[in-house]
Amino acid sequence: MEAEPRIGVYICHCGVNIAANVDVEQVAQFAATLPGVVVSRNYLYMCSDPGQGLIQQDIQQHGLNRVVVASCSPRMHEPTFRGAAQQVGLNPYLVEMANIREQCSWVHSNREQATEKAKALVASTVAKAAQLEPLVEREVGVTPGALVIGGGIAGLCAALDVADAGFPVYLVEQSDHVGGRLKDLNRTFPTLELVADLLGPLVERVRSHPKVTVLLNSQVTSVEGYVGNFEVQVTPAPSSTPSSSPLKVGSIIVATGYDLFDPHRKPELGYGQYAHVITSLEMEQRLFEGRVGVDGQEPKRIAFIKCVGSRDVQVGNPYCSRVCCMVTAKQARLVQELLPEADVTVFYMDVRTFGKGAEEFYDEARDKGVLYRRGTVSEIIRRGERVVLMGEDTLQGRPFEFEADLVVLAVGMEARSDVGALSTLLKLPRSADGFFLELHPKLRPVDTAVNGVFLAGCCQGPKDVTDTVAQAKAAAASALIPLIRGTVPAESATAVVEPELCAGCGMCVEVCPFGAPALDALWPVSRINFVLCKGCGTCAVTCPSKAIRLQHFTASQILAQVDALVE
């Protein structure tokens, strides 16, 4: 940049968070001596309105062309200070932050040494700030339309909301019907509404909606592009050739659901070995038919076992599946109503009935005669015509043997076995439990690390219909943001190629996790799509010709930073 740097430095006290452990006065005085620094101040809360006002006033009065704020992590307030600078006409990329809270005052106890470290951090940031360049903020247009992957209750609800907002929706479903796993269930909890009554009208609305295109027996086989402009190849199974030209959409909602835990993996429970032992899903089918017995025999003693495949590190599922407590309460109650003379016992380690109306439902189940007994069943063996559940009643403190005619295993939820393929296609990260990872557990629960791709339902983690629909509607609302705005902001601190230096080796293409670089077809040099680039810098450090420069983190900026630190 042509103009000499005129830097303003602002040391924040953060109340006592910084000031208690760092001599902020001394740091400010030190900063004033650094090259290019025109003004240096300290203030109680830089992020407050008066604090921001101070910066804005200095920019105007002192003609500042760089701002350094020494305070908390940039994750916290970088947007705040960039915004303040921008309001008074300074390019936001000319603002830099030094983290003297998380990386200094909070983690050191010696005030003197902490003050010295704060000075070093400020000097380092000032050195980088002197070399900052203004960057352009760009917007790109958006394809008006959305793709929903998965035709279960989550996908159906999300698709309807996007379509009702007036945008075309492609709903891709790999089976031959929509309705997902919910279709296999009899009644929902806690209202005992028939699933058919709930799902039927929804499916009908989706089928007849002029804005929704349902693609059954289809799979997403490739995804290109970026938020606002995705190109998605959909292939009808089992053929392997893509059916048509790629679908073009602005946002994507992933609603691919879950797998049920396979109880063969708990061999001690005898599933698959004894006809008496069934899963909660198989129980749903029997409830459909109104006959729950084995081989037409009406069961007299019925046991439910909870947490099968959940909260169990032995099978790699440490998490709670969140629905099994209520599924069990529902089925136990329905069975008790169907067979009033039968003994219905639920074996549990904890009862988690947290939803609206759920605890009340659990109370009613016990009122109807369902007995809850605390102790996880450890083993099931055969005895004559019956099976025997072996466990410990932990409240009595002694082992029991419980003979039963029918045993229902409340099987938990798992990430789909084919989740890896979609994760790779969409570059979607997964959490340790295998489910797709939301961007923030509280504030960005339906967003993902990939801009423009949103999550709905059990693909993000086990949940019931209530929460699934809530999340689906949230995902639809988030997916509508770029569609309604019509444009999306692009990252400014992107990598750029200097074509004169580029040898066209393609190593950047190989290493980029976002598919941003591509070799030019006519002239064999790399070009980086600034919309796809996230500014991670992988290509810049890989490039053997040093032809790639990551803006805002250039080699000379970082070297200046390091030099100032080690001086």
Partner: protein, 378 residues
Amino acid sequence: MTPQGLLKTEPMVEQLELMGCIQCGKCTGGCPVARKTTLNIRSLIYHMLVEPELDVNAHPELWDCTCCFTCVERCPKDVRPAELVIGLRGQLVESGQIPDTIGAALTGIFRQGNPTGMAREDRCGWTNGTQVKAAQQGCQVLLHVCCTPAYDPRVQVVPRALVKAFTAAGLDFGTLGTEESCCGNEVRRMGEAGLFEMLVEENGELIRSVGASRLVATSPHCFNTFKNEYSLTGMEVVHYTQAVAQLLDEGRLKFSNEVKKTVTYHDPCFLGKQNHIFDEPRAVLKAIPGLKLVEMDRNRERSLCCEGGGGRMWAEGTNLAERLAFQRVHEAAETGAEVLAVACPFCLLTLEDAVKVQGLDEKLRVMDIMELVDLALA
């Protein structure tokens, strides 16, 4: 621990990470011994969590545990309840408060390298004069005979049959002869951590010096500790059923005689539950011409412990009347099998005893898999 036997609970809670326990009861619920004695490991863990001290002497049932590790295999929170039993036994060992028979076994191991206390020089009695190569001269496969097969006249047939099979298959194998010592698997489980460490060091050095690529253990107990508790880097540790199954698979061992018997197989805890070796023993049995394999209801992961592990070969426990082995031989008899096949010296002894006591000897015979293999070999 105080002289009164009061143990401060906190250090062991931390060491064994007992705070992970959610008191679900799956450990005690699956514990075969809890059904017949007052041993309740879930309740002991709870006591450790909520009380500052534990009176270890008030729990003679600690010696009932067979270390079958069903509790460890099933704990949904990876707490390893049986390790608490072992830890508490350790406290009793340190203060000398142990059953006499356990003391005798430990002394025998310390002095003679075997729990019977018989002379080390007699360790090769099992060979019946057959020449077996000394592994110290170098060999590819080290056959670890193990104490009970070496000394117990009923079990000696097992290593002899192994020698015959390995010779027939042309294996380059040897044994440590009288230098072989107890592996220490049961020693650790009886709570004698110091002696166990000494054995690991001495045996480990000797075994590594042989330079064999594979160690074959006759007993699942020895197999378990060599595989999981020693560091025999570069040496593959297998149980004999795995070795024989592989020789059959590779066609190096062939059966020539029919053994027309209906056989059921009892999974030993240290081979099955703890090390998930379920298929190889069955593969060996199925390969025997004429042999019909039938399964008991409780098989593989649900196999019922014979009560021979965890030092129980040398301590009766608090309930002599009800033995799991009694129950087990009835389960075997119910299948209609004439042979109850085992792959562990302890199971062989406990179950054979139970067959006699239960008056099933007309109906059921307990045989080691190697005895059946021996019949099938020319």
